[in-house]
Amino acid sequence: MIELKNVSIDYPLDPADGASLKSALLNVFNRNRKQPKSHYRALDDVSLRINKGERVGLIGLNGAGKSTILRVMSGIFQPSHGSVQIVGRVSPLLDFATGLELHHTGLENIRIRLMFLGESPASIERKIGDIAEFSELGEFIHLPARTYSTGMFMRLAFATSTAINPEILIADEVVGAGDAQFAEKARQRIEELLSGERTTVLSSHSMDLIRRFCHRVVWLHHGRIIADGDSDAVIKDYEARAPLMER
């Protein structure tokens, strides 16, 4: 279960241009300070409740705040205002490469990534063979990742990321990877991942993907929820109105 109550997220803007001790000290002496805009409000008073077992799609234009709200739901961002309650272990799939190390072998990288995704050592040993096989890397699995082609790298990351069995899955644009041969396997694997008896929040620009897996869709715009309901209805509304809206 995930519950957001009146959550706002303000990104602090000053470090962007060098928060340095020098400028901090100089500001002490600068009496005539005209404060430039210090925060960017990425989420504005958002309230949302996702119950156990729900499969929710998250849609919106670029810059609407989707990645931000996913991070709030994953417990990565603390709200600047409001409160979040998360019950259950979250495995965020917000990128495919965190923890991947070029100097380690493919096999070691699988272990590392699973460790960061919260899998126990026992569970890692159980899954590693299957992941290695699925990635179709063959002997390369024992070589350092820096020897891999981009496709191999992505297949490895994909195979690893989709092997987890989280209580709550928060996924940002699940990456499909690989050539034509791999694509069909990948599709099946994603379907398995998204079909489990778990709470899922999936952000995507692919309405087909969302329609297939999510019964409920939340539409985010300028940091606010402007629609939350049955997926067919909200998606239809989005497809009609969104192309004309302002980012």
Partner: protein, 262 residues
Amino acid sequence: MTPLLREFKLAINNFQIWTYLSGSDVKSRFRRSKLGIVWPVLHQLAFSLGAGFIWAAVFHLKPDDFIPFLTLGFAIWAFIAAAMTEGCSAFVIAHGYLKQLPLPQSIFIFRTVLTQLIFLAIGLATALGVLLYFGKLTLLGLVLGIPGILILIVYAYGAIGSLAYLGLRYRDLQHGLAGIFSLLFVVTPVIYPAEVLIKKGFAAAIYANPFASLIEVVRYPILNGELAEPLHYLASSVFALAFVALRFQLGFRWSRFVPFWS
């Protein structure tokens, strides 16, 4: 008390992750380098023996006493300075994790502390080897050095923990500290015995300098087989605990901003 207990719990629960990260740090430092771990050892020996013989002549000291003194001081000082300068980048280097995964921030503090402790162990081992060679190594000395080492560890946790937050927020801090430590290296009795300064009337550089105390509580017992002056234990402990308090204060106020600043 409770933040401290929570911290211990986090350390235990996430043991696998931060020990892996630390091991990875140490390995990558020595990767693709033919001599690997031998380099820092050679560097320390070269400095200690080279500078040792020459300065012994300059300060009118016996090399047999002075070179062990120098090697040990150098190893401890390198650790004290590295705790601060590397501490600044503890969160910076973890920015990927901080933005993508809901891992407790303390993990990256523990990782950096462990990595620096490993390098300290290498430095101390080298120094002890030198002591053995000059016949200055005693079991009593080693045992009496343990309280000092414990204080060093507390200092490292507090300094790295505090500077992790400060160094993330103020990215130029690391450079500033490197400069300050160059100055401190000269002022602190690392490469000359405290007596030399005291005789010239600069006792304040030893007694009002917490870094000097941090070194003394480890170096003096090991070399002399007796505990250092109580003042040094007091000063270094207070110094270390002040950093720990700062770490928790900064954690309390700035934890929420760390993913944004990463």
